[in-house]
Symmetry: none
């Protein structure tokens, strides 16, 4: 179990290494985190080594290495920054980690696996998972799970026109479907999407 500062120092080192390819010095860590004493930094680096999150390679300068050890108790990964074609990775100083629990999980949510290409232009591919929040109401533009005539189900973008609703696939080869509002029951809206390679 890491303390607040241990956590911050580990994230700081992780990010520094992904950006620069080598570890920071103790003073550099201190500067990044606003700690004036390298003795203090050293103490925390030591405890991170004790706890198995870091390794020292010999006594050389910048000799810290990551062990890759990560807690599996929470859905948190280090955040390295933004990547745009043709530029260095841009670090976001305020955001050091991504908490997927916070982003994806919730009381009234469940997961569906998508079959088919009907939402491909919205970046939802065959076999992707989508996270759906259960609700009967949705807004224009939401991607919804809709039940039609109490039988078939579909995943489409929603547009309402008075007493009719339009269910719009995100695929240029498919046409939108228009139904009277009373034949379509919204079951939930898509709040997230996950793919693993």
């Amino acid at each position: 179990m890491l303390t607040g500062l241990e956590e911050k120092i580990l994230q700081c080192i992780t990010r520094y290494i992904t950006q620069n390819g080598h570890a920071p010095t103790l003073v550099e860590i201190g500067q990044l985190l606003d700690i004036k004493s390298k003795g203090t930094v050293h103490r925390y680096v030591d405890s991170l080594i004790d706890k198995g999150h870091l390794q020292r390679s010999g006594r050389s300068w910048r000799g810290l290495r990551l062990t890759g050890e990560q807690s599996r108790r929470l859905l948190i990964l280090p955040f390295a920054g933004r990547i745009a074609a043709g530029k260095p990775i841009e670090a976001i100083p305020e955001q050091l980690e991504i908490n997927f629990s916070d982003m994806l999980l919730g009381e009234d949510r469940y997961v569906l696996e998508v079959k088919g290409d009907s939402m491909i232009d919205a970046g939802i591919l065959d076999r992707d998972l989508v996270i759906v929040r259960e609700t009967q109401t949705a807004n224009n533009g939401d991607i919804v799970v809709a039940l039609i005539d109490n039988g078939e189900t579909t995943l489409k973008k929603l547009r309402k026109h008075g007493d009719r609703v339009e269910l719009i696939p995100a695929n240029q080869t498919m046409a939108p479907l228009i139904y009277p509002a009373d034949r379509v029951h919204i079951q939930g809206v898509v709040v997230g999407q996950v793919r693993s390679y």
Copy 2:
């Protein structure tokens, strides 16, 4: 059987951990539930530990942990099945839940936010998050984080041709880039992708 306050405190701690990635202090719990005395909070936390709903790691700050079912709930969502346009949702009896820890976490992984549309045809949109596994080697067809000339970075599909490598955008308006192999350094491969709406 939990008393009313015990219930509230447990929920409060669970919510705090999902959102913040670490447990609250006694005073923070008090503030969230409008209890002024940390001694009182402490007493209820103690009884939650006695009843097996919480664990304490020594006397450390923020040292509370959830046990068993509670802690699993921070990693999973119920899995409802497959959705395909025009059919009922097909339930998969063997799979009742999705464990995001198994799907997303692993050694040497970090997260990048994607800027731009260069991978749009691969279902990776502007502002999506990708999970990258650090490695120097990659296979044909992998989506890689590549460092070019030790300066700029880019996210592209990889194809190797002997002593040259081709970096292929997934966007019909962009052309593939071909470089001598020694100018391109693979930093990692994309193993996952996440979007939240």
